[in-house]
């Protein structure tokens, strides 16, 4: 699969090391992605990395990606300017299966950058609000200055039909919000745990504790969905780079239910 050329239409500096870029196809267009899927973004001359979709273009062909600069490729992507051209392959993987949550309470739990792949799920849930019981978003961040999508979070918080709770690991005395790890918010989440579908994204350790905490409270393990991040190369199930036990994260995932992931998450990345 050869990369299709996309142009950077807009960029927004979320945090010192994190940027959201909106890209539009120059010629040709990839299939419309679903929430939770990812694409391989190519910075010419540097390399290619998997990046989740953080915003869908609603049929316009435009897409958003939120990228944290951790190495050569992500740094190149984060420093692209409006008008720059990148290559895109995708969309890949299975997304968040929100159909599973129809008729249930839907609990969305994000840690740090994990809010980016969950943002399209949140937007889809809001578009189809009637399909779910209670809708709850729990967000954990390092500190108040590390919160992303702040304007949207504030908008969602102001709605009557969803519950949003934000907690930070560390805060200055002026912060009036919650302090503590995101797992602490679970017991206060206003959902019927036995009748809840949870979608979770964040660092693996955080997802492990959240999933275990949800299972303890009675959420069926098959209804707890996590998005795994493992190193990738081909993204189409050929190279074996992303293999985790019997699963290929690139094509069987990156979203997996907890009953399939619980033991595999103890497998260290190669």
């Amino acid at each position: 699969m050869t990369p299709v050329l996309y142009r950077v239409e807009a960029r927004h500096q979320e945090l010192a090391d994190t940027v959201t870029i909106r890209i539009a196809p120059i010629a040709g267009q990839l299939a419309d992605p679903k929430p939770g899927q990812f694409e391989m973004l190519l910075a010419f001359g540097v390399g290619e990395v998997p990046i989740s979709i953080s915003g869908l273009g609603n049929g316009s062909g435009e897409l958003e990606h939120t990228i944290r600069s951790v190495g050569a490729v992500t740094k190149a992507l984060c420093t692209t300017a409006v008008g720059d051209v990148i290559g895109v392959r995708g969309p890949f993987g299975v997304g968040w299966d929100l159909d599973r949550a129809t008729g249930h309470d839907l609990l969305i739990v994000a840690g740090g950058l994990g809010l980016a792949p969950l943002r399209p799920a949140m937007l889809e849930a809001l578009t189809n609000r009637h399909r779910f019981g209670r809708l709850v978003l729990l967000v954990g961040a390092r500190d108040p200055g590390s919160l992303m999508f702040v304007r949207e979070l504030e908008q969602w918080r102001g709605r009557f039909d969803i519950d949003v709770a934000v907690t930070v690991d560390a805060a200055p005395p002026s912060w009036r919000g919650d302090v503590g790890v995101v797992t602490k918010l679970l017991s206060r989440a206003p959902v019927d745990f036995g009748n809840t579908t949870a979608v979770v994204c964040g660092p693996e350790v955080m997802m492990r504790f959240v999933a275990a905490g949800l299972a303890d409270r009675g959420v069926p393990p098959g209804q707890i969905l996590l998005s795994m991040e493992r190193n990738m190369r081909c993204a189409i199930g050929h190279c074996g780079h992303c293999q985790l036990g019997p699963e290929f994260v690139c094509k069987d995932g990156p979203v997996f239910p907890w009953d399939r992931m619980e033991k595999l998450m103890l497998v260290r990345e190669r």
Partner: protein
């Protein structure tokens, strides 16, 4: 109006307790309300009363030289303010302040310590509940220490 015994039975910490034990504990409790900004516990002060939050939100902090009070966590409904009361020298290790108007059941610590000594079943249940609570707090603290959301790229 609900009795202290009923309220204790509704609190997450004591929800599974036998009604007789709830009855026994109820004599140590009374209702309290804190206004936003009111100090609830003071670091170093005697641990005379701890609080089972019913509604509202409180902060827990510790005084660090040159940095003032550093926030450690916030506590809300079904959580407990004060976990040093069962252990000598019965002094608070952290301070706590109400962030929002907060209602709680105040438990007289000495009264409950005495009852736990006299009635081993109550003592066992109370200490088991507090051990679990402290395990949860230890686990949360460890996760906080990991700085999970930091950018750890080399």
């Amino acid at each position: 109006m609900k009795s202290i015994r009923d309220l204790l039975g509704e609190h997450l910490l004591f929800r599974d307790f036998h009604p007789d034990l709830l009855e026994l504990m109820a004599g140590c409790g009374h209702n309290v309300h804190f206004a936003a900004g009111e100090q609830i516990l003071t670091e170093g002060a005697p641990a005379n009363e701890f609080y089972l939050i019913r509604s509202g939100k409180a902060s827990v902090g510790v005084t660090v030289p040159n940095r003032g009070t550093v926030l450690i966590e916030t506590l809300g409904p079904d959580e407990v303010i004060g976990v040093s009361w069962p252990f000598p020298p019965y002094r608070w290790e952290f301070s706590s302040t109400a962030i929002d108007p907060t209602s709680a059941i105040a438990m007289d610590a000495e009264c409950l310590r005495n009852k736990c000594d006299q009635e081993p079943l109550l003592g066992y249940q109370v200490f088991k509940s507090f051990a679990r609570l402290m395990r949860d707090r230890l686990q949360a603290t460890r996760l906080q220490l990991l700085d999970l959301y930091g950018n750890h790229a080399g």
